[in-house]
Assembly symmetry: C2
Homo-oligomer: 236 residues x 2
Amino acid sequence: MTSVKRSQLAEKMAGEITLSDSPGHALRKWRMNFEIPPGVLSDRLGVSPSVISDYESGRRKSPGTAVVGKIVDTLLAIDEENGGKQIQKFSSMLFSGVDNDVIYDLHEYERAVPLGEFSEVIGCTLLSGSVDQLIFGYTVVNSLNAILQLSSDEFNRIYGWSTERAVIFTNASTGKSPMVAIRVTSFKPRCVILQGIEATEVHPIVAKMAERDRITVMCTGMDIDKIVTTLRHKEW
Amino acid sequence: MTSVKRSQLAEKMAGEITLSDSPGHALRKWRMNFEIPPGVLSDRLGVSPSVISDYESGRRKSPGTAVVGKIVDTLLAIDEENGGKQIQKFSSMLFSGVDNDVIYDLHEYERAVPLGEFSEVIGCTLLSGSVDQLIFGYTVVNSLNAILQLSSDEFNRIYGWSTERAVIFTNASTGKSPMVAIRVTSFKPRCVILQGIEATEVHPIVAKMAERDRITVMCTGMDIDKIVTTLRHKEW
DNA sequence: ACGAGATTTCGACAGTAAACGAATTACGAC
DNA sequence: GTCGTAATTCGTTTACTGTCGAAATCTCGT
């Protein structure tokens, strides 16, 4: 399962390293935070131990994004194999109270994605509105109940960095509650996708509410894990 | 004034760009988010416009951290000059509800900093505990009142990424309230610094409470903006 | 205090990033 | 549709990254 925590932490680490005056020190700091010896890291990266040492000592003043990314990812991967203890430790610093339990996945694309294509790859049926628009990311909301109990401040977080996005509600029964949740807040996503439900099972009021906020509504029966895997790794 | 929002956003941007499969696209995305034309960016960076284009088109597959950092910083600088509209727009995504008003500054160092040196550069007088230890960062808390109203979840955020840090309370009167705030929570910083107060003005109970949690307490009369500037840019 | 293993330093080198500037193409305004 | 400005593409140069491997150095356990 793709972890929001993991990618948030990765982003924080990469950001800190990249902005640092001495990326080497930042790199070392994080490796030490994860309590991973240089040798283990270099093994996993398939490079000689001297490489790690060279970076950390600052011999390379401005390592490329590829290297930084690979190192960050490897640190996290090693930690995950050991039970994710450090990721756990840092997770309280991320995303305030809203985490995995509520948001199953949240992702921003680097360019505008045509909603038509997006919906196609996850097998959507159009219920209302137009598919002819662009989105920049998506959010998969896991538990509607949990969402309803969030403070408005926290709620806004499900919108990530742009409301030009699709919000996917898992295990919808009639689709009414998700639409109510959207209705009562001021931020409107471009598109709502109801997962785990057939077009015929959707409550008729859903289309009405959607039109009022000019939101496109679709449904899909595809398994949620398959959806997430597809959406995360798709090259648009 | 150093803005927490600004550096948080910078970190997010840099992280996203660094971890991206195509840093060029991420770079472009952010420049466009800020609505800054390539020419303006290149001017500000003092490079030819083709440089920007080359990065964004992906001719450089793995730009160095220095370049990414400079571009991110320049985008933010240009936005700030235009009133910080975009920074504002994105700030709701950062740091949940806790922001500038409460936390005046928050910073993590890349290596352990001796508390002795740290306290010396900001002109501290030791009141209780030992100066012979290491810290990894600091937090400047602006308004004690605001702090007291935070939820525990939010409160923990003042600890940043490690409790091995100094927490500086501005405009202390007797130092009692800050210590109470610390007392009632489970996370303990290594050191509390009371700003804007003389050693003789500190309430005697402060030392007692500090000993109980084994926290070093100091005070300083140095101006808070000077403190922040000093601490941010100091090379240890 | 010794030695094995881990870590760091450093010379070498191939490949690529960083930058320029000229040539080309795209985009608005009229 | 044409002109002018802005943006992109691309050839070229220089400097530095990315990597190795050998040698030097550090760090523990006994």
